[in-house]
């Protein structure tokens, strides 16, 4: 084996990784479609950080490969050790420090808007609770059980008299609630607020298409919100199919998965649901009323059994 072999091997592999990453956004291997109101901010931050990382990746790996090729074949050459060199150590501590601080400053507004519940509370206190579609998502091993409030109660959501920080009190269980397993429904343009809870261990709520990810912690109710700016659902009779762009074209990038990203037990990998974004509020209400009719069923489903 030639002495330069390892240098070349490393060089080729590292360069291939760089090329692969660089072309992936143009090949459709990158982020999911820009379907969320967060897409702009989150994607900008993603590519900004990717850019910074790419710069240092190229710098350090090129140095590594150059060194391997340049010095590997000379057995008489002695290595120079830099251990204890304060100037160098300061350099590689301060530069990343400054960069990380810069990134922290750049992302702080996005973080506040997306993650910080005070902004939600403020909107509720301003009587704008009705702006949000509210639902409670109770996770457990291994499913999301989602409680939708009846549309008759939407008006009561903006009730200012409810306790300020007590999200649970805003959405107490009611007789006419609709329960659905694993399917999150909302409509295009609607701010959607989910109260995330868990019955057992830690779980997570991650919808890549909405750029939203939040862990569920035992004993806590954690609000999270997102606003879809694209729809992905088409009605076909009494069922709603996902994976359709708004112009009616089927597109696999418009199947939006909801996945658990917090290891929660043996079936963790199978804990997943789907996000259905209806084109309009009317479509959503049609779906909700169908689901509610099923929740309030007093007679067996005859047709359903016959058509299956």
């Amino acid at each position: 084996m030639g002495q330069r072999f390892w240098g070349w091997l490393f060089g080729i592999v590292l360069f291939a990784i760089f090329v692969f990453t660089a072309v992936s956004p143009y090949m459709g291997w990158g982020l999911p479609p820009k379907a969320s109101s967060f897409s702009g901010e989150i994607d900008f931050l993603f590519y900004l950080i990717l850019g910074v990382v790419a710069f240092f990746y190229v710098l350090t790996e090129a140095l590594l490969v150059w060194n391997m090729c340049r010095f590997a074949h000379d057995p008489n050459r002695k290595s120079r050790f830099v251990h204890g060199n304060h100037r160098l150590e300061m350099l590689w501590t301060v530069i990343p420090g400054v960069l990380l601080f810069g990134l922290a400053v750049v992302q702080i507004n996005a973080w506040a808007a997306i993650k910080y519940p005070t902004s939600l509370v403020q909107q509720f206190d301003a009587g704008r609770g009705e702006d949000y579609l509210q639902m409670e998502i109770t996770t457990r091993q291994w499913e999301y059980r989602i409680r939708y409030a009846s549309p008759d109660r939407m008006a009561s959501w903006s009730d200012k008299s409810k306790a300020k920080h007590d999200f649970e009190q805003r959405l107490p269980p009611q007789r006419d609630d609709v329960f659905v397993v694993n399917d999150v429904h909302t409509w295009k343009g609607q701010k959607t607020l989910c109260y995330l809870r868990t019955r057992d261990v830690g779980h997570s709520f991650f919808v890549p298409a909405m750029r939203v990810k939040q862990d569920a912690l035992p004993g806590r109710t954690i609000p999270l919100w997102f606003q879809p700016i694209e729809s992905n659902t088409r009605r076909s009779g009494d069922v709603w199919l996902d994976g359709y762009r708004e112009d009616g074209v089927q597109d696999s990038r418009f199947v939006w998965d909801l996945v658990c990203t917090q290891y929660c037990g043996t079936r963790h990998s199978l804990m997943r649901g789907k996000l259905y974004v209806h084109p309009t509020k009317e479509d959503y209400l049609a779906w909700l009323n169908a689901a509610r009719a099923d929740s309030n069923r007093t007679q067996p489903e005859k047709q359903a059994a016959a058509t299956e």
Binding site: M1, Q141, E143, R145, R175, S295, Q299, P300
Partner: protein, 445 residues
């Protein structure tokens, strides 16, 4: 110079190790066939104790500690058992029978006959019907009709077996005994299909024989069971769930044929008794007995499919006023001695419900209606079906004869059964309880 010469072989050695590791890892996914059971694998003959009937004489004081079902705990050494287990041992030989008493020869017979009739985990089948016995139960019933009606054909079962192995095995076990590795650590323990008893059914047969309908099993797989460890399997395709329903039915057939005949042998000190279905036989062979039971099970499962509960129409309007009036009447029925008397088991509306053993020998309590979790589903129809038909295996009786409206009530558009359902539906909500108390003088807190 010296150091340089040393380097070259060690680099080569590292390269060799890396190459060997990589090759080994790349071959690993090819080991075994992860999709299906091994073809040579057979179902074991039942060896865990059989519970004959609902154990009512012995009453547990707590839920059992995790790690063993109460029945499996019977065999634990003395220092590990709880007071409840010691008490439960009194039922051995009366209500609980240990297959260890079976002769080894019988076990061999079981292994052979059951494999002949029901195949193996990799190649499940339902065969060995005696058409004459089937005919005796129902003129029109043939083996082909059973297979087609319950979708127990080999192709469907083979698909079901694969999905079951992947999704269900780790809790419900190889034979559907509810004793998969994780099954011991969750409470309630997973359902043991081998007794042929299912809690949440919508079939209107007599309580002793009520089997689930395919629709019931499908609904449970789709939505899961709230308040237990059974999650929703809604991410499976509709066909996959259909295959699973067939495979669960199959496991139940195999398990119950084994259970019923084995119970017979253990109760009668080695002898089998005939079900009077085979001509001119008083002391049947094991094969005849298994065939008789196969016919009986086919008949019952088929009949369940054809006899869904037909609920009386919901007589009330949509408004909250109607609902609360109905719930207030339901409160009376719930508490009255003669009619519902639900309160005698659901003590203090379930908040002080007593522990008891069920027909699988696991521990249950009547539902606490204040927590709003209804395992068999919280839709009105689900609750209605349970009041109508009871819950099998746990001692909840059926109320179809006592609570359905008589002609007088029908004329007045009042239905005691729906009243009870509405009362149960109102109980979890403090707001509705307050309204019942204020507006309808219902004495609850």
């Amino acid at each position: 110079m010296h150091a340089g010469r040393m380097q070259s072989p060690s680099v080569r050695r590292i390269a060799l190790v890396v190459a060997a590791l990589g090759l080994g890892l790349s071959l690993l996914p090819g080991c075994g066939n992860p999709d299906r059971y091994d073809a040579s694998m057979t179902f074991p003959v039942r060896s865990d104790p059989l519970v004959a009937t609902l154990i009512s004489q012995t009453v547990p004081t707590h839920f059992n500690p995790p790690g063993h079902t109460p029945i499996d705990a019977l065999k634990l050494p003395a220092p590990e058992v709880t007071h409840d287990t010691v008490e439960l041992r009194n039922e051995l030989g009366k209500n609980i029978f240990d297959p260890a008493e079976l002769q080894p020869q019988r076990r061999g017979e079981y292994a052979q006959l059951l494999t002949e009739m029901f195949g193996t985990p990799a190649q499940p089948k339902v065969s060995g019907f005696d058409p004459a016995v089937l005919k005796k139960l129902d003129e029109n019933l043939t083996p082909e009709k059973v297979i087609a009606g319950l979708k127990l054909d080999e192709a469907t079962l083979a698909e079901g077996s694969k999905i079951y192995r992947h999704q269900c095995l780790h809790c419900h076990g190889l034979e559907g005994n509810g004793r998969g590795p994780t099954g011991f650590w969750v409470n309630p323990h997973p359902r043991d299909y081998r007794q042929g008893i299912y809690k949440f059914t919508s079939s209107g047969q007599a309580l002793g024989e009520r089997k689930p309908r395919r629709e019931d099993l499908r609904h449970i797989i789709m939505t899961g069971i709230e308040g237990t460890s059974m999650p929703s399997f809604g991410m499976l395709s509709s066909t996959d769930i259909d295959h699973l329903v067939s495979y669960v039915t199959y496991l139940s057939f195999r398990g119950e044929a084994e259970y019923q005949t084995m119970l017979d042998i253990l109760k009668n000190k080695g002898e089998l008794s005939a079900l009077q279905l085979t001509e001119n036989v008083e002391k049947p062979t094991l094969k005849q007995s298994l065939q008789e039971w196969l016919a009986v099970l086919s008949f019952r499962w088929q009949a369940a499919e054809a006899a869904p509960i037909q609920p009386d129409p919901y007589p009330y309007g949509e408004s909250e006023k109607d609902f609360l009036e109905s719930a207030a009447r339901g409160f009376q029925v719930f508490n009255s001695e003669g009619q519902g008397s639900c309160i005698s088991c659901h003590k203090n509306y379930g908040r002080e419900a007593p522990y008891s053993y069920d027909e699988w020998g696991t521990i249950v309590r009547p539902r606490n209606f204040y927590d709003g979790i209804h395992r068999g589903g919280k839709r009105p129809i689900d609750l209605y079906n349970r009041v109508w038909g009871g819950i099998k295996g746990v001692g909840m009786t059926s109320y179809d004869t006592t609570l359905r409206p008589n002609d007088d009530q029908k004329a007045k558009k009042v239905d005691p059964m729906w009243d009870v359902v509405n009362f149960i539906r109102a109980l979890p909500y403090p707001e509705l309880r307050a309204k019942l108390k204020e507006q309808h003088k219902v004495n609850i807190d």
